[in-house]
Symmetry: C2
Subunit: 178 residues, 2 copies
DNA sequence: ACCTGAACACCGTTCAAGT
DNA sequence: ACCTGAACACCGTTCAAGT
């Protein structure tokens, strides 16, 4: 990779993070390129699809969430771990519409498959909560994610912020216990 | 209202219903006008905003939902009425992305305020379920709607259809009972 | 090898000109 | 009074031409 290419990529990514923080994940790609002082073709060269760009933008946060899952798995009781991680996922989801992108991301992008990473982090927490804790056994990882995603999507449409979202999440978590 | 204006309006509405059934609520307004054989200005004259158009398109279904609520209020037990109505709302939501529009609709459009209508229908069902039934008292109508909307939004992003959505809803309803 | 930016087909929206 | 459709400023996306 040529030096100017590498520099372009980094600058595009930094610009994308800023613009997406301002305008959300639907931000105009042309504007990102414009602000980065680069032609639209250059953006497409580095990030062939919007999803590829979003994966790169959110990668850090998803990795942090996965690390947090490992940590909770090792140091917290089954039910509490699941509840705490759900809240973290919710907070991530409410920041720049991060979840819908991280969750929906189907295929590996840039050697980093957000969907699989989140799924495997959640699988451990959920299985333990179902074995040693009080979580209903007829729930799978996909159900769990859809419920948390649902609360996040609904809460992001109406005002109320994280506080309201956490209230809704507490209802959902109660449902998961039966 | 002139006869040609009235005819244009009706034809636009019918065309909009068809196009939205095909492409969802984000369908191109220009295309709706084009298919109706009318200039875009004419569509804007009759429906000044997209929300106004969507309100007209979904009005029948929202009215049906409200009538159903009245019915359940009169003829079904508190808990069952709330559960059955939730399922109806969910089914509506999964058809052409109907819910997000009906729910988010803030102000009166065409003398028909979807949001208020749905809210008042739900208020009766929820209050009764909290008084005579087993529903948690710390839930208000807005919470209830957000939770159902959340399940609908999440279920509409991933495959699985109404069946999967009903499974998720059952978890949420369990949560509403504490 | 990589960047460039004009170009294409769209979008929502407006508004002068018509009837 | 109502309709018309060209026009405007955008959008995502592509690709020949440059360096």
């Amino acid at each position: 990779m040529r030096v100017d290419a590498r520099r372009n990529r980094e600058h595009l990514l930094a610009t994308a993070k800023a613009v997406i923080a301002e305008q959300g994940p639907e931000a105009s790609l042309n504007e990102i390129a414009r602000r980065a002082g680069v032609g639209p073709g250059t953006l497409y060269r580095h990030f062939p699809t919007r999803q590829a760009l979003l994966a790169a933008v959110f990668q850090d946060r998803v990795e942090t969430l996965c690390a947090k899952a490992e940590d909770l798995l090792a140091h917290t009781s089954p039910d509490e771990a699941l509840a705490l991680w759900s809240r973290d996922v919710l907070a991530h989801a409410l920041t720049d519409g991060g979840l819908s992108t991280s969750m929906t991301l189907g295929e590996a992008e840039l050697g980093f498959d957000c969907h699989a990473a989140m799924r495997s982090a959640a699988t451990g927490l959920l299985a333990r909560a179902q074995g040693e804790g009080r979580t209903r056994p007829d729930i799978d990882v996909e159900d769990f994610f859809q419920l948390v995603t649902g609360v996040a999507l609904a809460a992001s449409e109406l005002p109320g912020g994280l506080g309201r979202a956490e209230h809704l999440l507490s209802v959902t978590l109660a449902g998961l216990r039966g």
